[in-house]
Symmetry: C3
């Protein structure tokens, strides 16, 4: 069994931003030289997520509106008594998920036709990391 780990750093221009990273993950798989296995893609910060969905700008905007409705910013969260103002970011990332595991078959991410991998930032404009760990044979 082989194992290969890389860390990607993101510093988004906006506080909230969705970044497509499918090619980055494939690049890590290529580096790993793994033909059969899986790759974990997991946010290392707790106000960001990783998810698989459509690369379509309208839907990406819909996600933003929807998350703000389900997990609004600006409420009087208890977490804000610590001086933070980002409780909603913790909740939003919980809905989107903080990690995915992608199958690797014949050296390629084994994804459906519309599956794209995204980094979802909810409290950005600073350096944050994602771990990409592939294993297999």
């Amino acid at each position: 069994m082989k194992s290969h780990t890389v860390y990607r750093t993101f510093e988004t221009a906006e506080r909230r931003e969705f970044v497509r990273i499918t090619e980055d993950v494939q690049a890590a798989v290529d580096e790993a030289g793994i033909a059969e296995g899986m790759v974990l893609v997991s946010a290392m910060h707790i106000t960001a997520g990783v998810y698989v969905n459509d690369w379509e700008n309208g839907l990406i905007a819909d996600f933003g509106v929807w998350l703000e409705k389900l997990a609004p910013s600006g409420l009087n969260y208890r977490h804000h008594q610590t001086g933070e103002d980002n409780a909603d970011a913790h909740l939003k990332r919980t809905i989107m998920g903080h990690q995915v595991m992608l199958p690797i078959t014949a050296g390629k991410l084994d994804l459906g036709p519309w599956e794209q991998v995204f980094y979802a930032e909810f409290d950005g404009q600073r350096r944050k990391r994602v771990v990409v760990k592939a294993f297999g044979i």
Copy 2:
């Protein structure tokens, strides 16, 4: 390390439908001949999900009502400007999750007494795939 991949195709009669697939996943594990390891079960389409929960019809109905409340159909989603009408399906599958990883111990899915695996279709009546990838020893 062994690796074994199968693809299951679903074409549900209803647009929204939850299908129990625990036995299908166990069958893939049996085929793989894996005694110790894990199996990934992941929807390859972005308007469907895979989740673990109770096989009880009342609760399954509750999930449907609840998802419609949290992620309503029929809203004026921006995604619909592309001609699609299924933005809610993308959101509903996000809440349910699009994949699970199940432990394999002594050749069997290592599940609790009430754990059942489901395929959750939110935009069906057409052929869609799930990847089932087992690995282990």
Copy 3:
């Protein structure tokens, strides 16, 4: 490839309770003697979850309030026609997630600075299990 499985049993004092288990998972990794790999942490009961987020009491209280808003208890759920009263627990655990996969690098859980692993109980005060399965080299 090595594989090592342990089961942790929880019996929370409260019906709803979030328990930090990061050290327990690291202990299972230590026992496994795995330097490079991953560990799955997965609730075996369908009214509990496992998630990664902040170990801050204000945020933990915020999660409780938020989950009660998104998935209220006390509604007339169809699941309750079976005699159960815990449909909301099934929904709440769905939002939080029922499992995580943690990378192991150089023998340690490869977590970001604020990442902590939690067991999330939504129908406790009785014995329930979590499976912790590590694999790697």
